[in-house]
Amino acid sequence: MPRVGLFITCVNDALFPATPKAVVQILERLGYDVDFPAAQTCCGQMHANSGYKKDAATLAGAFEDVFGAYDAIVTPSGSCAAMARDQYPHLIGSDIGDHVYELSEFLIDVAGVEDVGARFPHTVTYHPTCHGTRALGLGDKPLRLLRAVQGIELVDLPAADQCCGFGGTFALKNSEVSSAMLADKCRHAADTGAEYLAAADNSCLTHIGGGIFRAGGPRPIHYAEILASTA
């Protein structure tokens, strides 16, 4: 069995404990020994993408120190995994990103499972987040895992591949454009009539959810929490 280190991400550390809990539950259910190194903080994505290369390199270096000894590093974030894989090589000359897996990659490519034994009797629509889908190339992996969930009813999200308008500091710097993108995403999500909107990144879900709380629509949920559910 590989030594699995869990990288929960700074966003989940601060705001969404239910998601990393779910990851632990899923992996343990499949027989993996999961470790949570407490010295972890942030992958450095916000700094890198906002143009602060040196700060990003410091945080990337710290990430490598914390996670260097693990065979596999699992994280419930497509964009953090993409950060390590795409940017660490030229940022700090490290290929640790090759061992960083977004949850669905680990489950399908390493563990070789699609059915993780979950039950979730609800209607769910799925938003493929940009970094997960395009930068990381997750394809339909999270969806394949969701399809295997008992009792779930998946509804297609119209214009699913359109960005929700988050983009880190973009949401603040270009607040108006971001809000216009968000409005369309929320409208499409509401149109599905689903109970839940699932995605592979809580940062995007914070953004979409923040809009949905106002306008009404499906409840945002990280897909890991669906996979952990046995209700």
């Binding site: 404990p17 632990v24 602060y52 270009n174 607040s175 216009a180 923040g210």
Partner: protein, 473 residues
């Protein structure tokens, strides 16, 4: 009956920072409707025809490799082009910047005994503002591409690389013709065929009388000294064959080593730009030939900032661009703002990486005009990694002082696990009053930039770390 058209460029401030200009564009409902409709249509067409080719991905790889090779050997290829074009009877001129290119072009027009030119749609001439320069020195330039004609008549600026009038619908186009064309037929309707016929009649007179034509080029083949223009209306073919004098203004990055390289690009370009399988009018010419087309053929090779871009190892991939516009059509930002908000002839994702490099120190706001969603990179036929270049340019600075301080503080905390844990705890305690509600609806600036359209969740009572510690016992 027709409504007076107010040119969009006069409403959207070109010199304002992107967020400000974008805000104006976002407040123009008709513009947004026209843009969403047009980009949506081309986007679907492109996806369809690109998907038909089994070797699409290897075509992209090949094109990207050819362009990288050109960038490595640009000086050598430019000289090879000059040699071969000159041997075939063309006169090759070198222009360091817009000013030089405009002056050379104006001189040639005068030497040809003319005071007006017909134009083939060309981004290079938009970039150097040839029309404006000509007007200032008493020459006239007439656009002959339908969409460029519309923009010129409306006294507007292009809002898209390929479809400069993308922000107008056909009713607005009818009104523009009606009010500005002079010889528009009475009772002109907004039927596409009627509009095209009106433009055709209007342009025909120009084609027949013009002594000089000005064009750009999609490709310049070093091996043969040939230029290539790819267009779909036939107006280009008229300009390239009828007038006695032809001036082509060509950015040096348009070079291709071999004639055979065209095979790759002629598959990628039409499918990526108009969503067509094959391009309707492809004109290739090599120098001048007596009794066949123009006899007085000039090529102006234009730098205008390109060698500066070439010096940046990451940024130089922007010079691979073949101006297909696919990245604009899929961009969620462009779709909502249109081109004017970018304040540069090259808008959208390619503009966001090219404009600040061509004019260093200007357009510093453009690399931030993107959510880094990556849709542009996915469709780019020459595989320019636009998100990578955007991030690279952001990292060159400059950064606003307040933001830099905030980022540095965040890093200082995140780089020390104990401080980070303390900060998380402080946030949990500090947000306690809002815990029951679960979110914040209104924050002071700069948080207001978030809460203008979204709630912000507050940290829950128990965090993951407590839970983890608890179960380790």
């Amino acid at each position: 009956m027709s409504t007076r058209i107010v040119p969009a460029a006069s409403l959207i401030p070109a010199d304002a920072p992107f967020p400000k200009a974008a805000k104006v564009a976002l407040g123009m409902p008709q513009l947004r409707k026209n843009l969403a409709h047009a980009t949506g249509t081309i986007r679907a067409k492109r996806a369809n025809v690109a998907g038909e080719l089994d070797d699409w991905e290897s075509l992209r790889d090949t094109a990207s490799a050819i362009k990288a090779d050109v960038q490595h050997r640009l000086p050598e290829l430019a000289v090879e082009f000059e040699r071969n074009a000159t041997a075939a009877g063309a006169r090759v001129h070198w222009a360091r910047d817009a000013q030089e290119a405009n002056e050379i072009a104006a001189r040639i027009v005068r030497e040809a005994g003319a005071d007006e030119v017909v134009k083939v749609k060309s981004m290079a001439t938009q970039e150097i503002e040839l029309n404006e320069h000509f007007e200032a020195v008493g020459l006239k330039a007439f656009e002959t591409d339908l969409a460029e004609l519309i923009v010129q008549l409306a006294e507007d600026k292009p809002s898209h690389i390929l479809v400069p009038a993308i922000h107008y619908n056909r009713t607005e186009i009818r009104d523009i013709f009606d009010q500005k064309m002079g010889d528009a037929p009475k009772g002109l309707t907004d039927e596409p065929a009627a509009l095209a016929e009106a433009a055709r009649q209007h342009l025909r007179r120009r084609f027949l009388s013009a002594k000089v034509a000005v064009s750009g080029a999609n490709f310049a083949v070093a091996e043969t000294g040939s230029l290539v223009v790819v267009e779909s209306e036939g107006n280009g073919r008229m300009c390239l064959t009828m007038p006695r004098t032809l001036i082509s203004i060509v950015g040096i990055e348009k070079l291709l080593p071999r004639f055979a390289d065209l095979e790759v690009f002629m598959q990628l370009l039409p499918r990526s730009s108009t969503g067509e399988r094959m391009n309707p009018y492809t004109s290739v010419w090599t120098g001048a030939r007596e009794g066949d087309g123009p006899e007085d053929v000039h090529v102006i090779l234009l730098d205008n900032g390109r060698t500066g871009v070439l010096a940046d190892e990451v940024g130089r991939q922007a010079l691979s661009c073949i101006r297909c516009s696919a990245c604009l059509n899929v961009c969620p930002v462009y779709e909502r703002t249109g081109g004017h908000a970018y304040g540069h002839v090259y808008p959208g994702p390619i503009g966001a990486i090219l404009a600040p490099q061509l004019e260093p120190g200007r357009h510093d706001d453009l690399p931030y005009a993107s959510s880094l969603c990556g849709a542009c990179y996915e469709v780019c036929p020459v595989k320019i990694n636009i998100p990578e270049v955007l991030v690279h340019l952001r990292q060159q600075g400059p950064h606003q002082a307040g933001e830099r301080a905030a980022m540095r503080a965040a890093k200082a905390v995140m780089a020390r696990p104990r401080l980070w844990r303390a900060a998380l705890k402080a946030a949990r305690i500090g947000s306690m009053p809002w815990r029951r509600k679960g979110f914040l609806r209104r924050l002071p600036w700069p948080g207001s930039k978030w809460t203008v359209s979204r709630d912000l969740p507050v940290p829950p009572k128990e965090d993951f770390r407590d839970w983890w510690k608890e179960r380790q016992r």
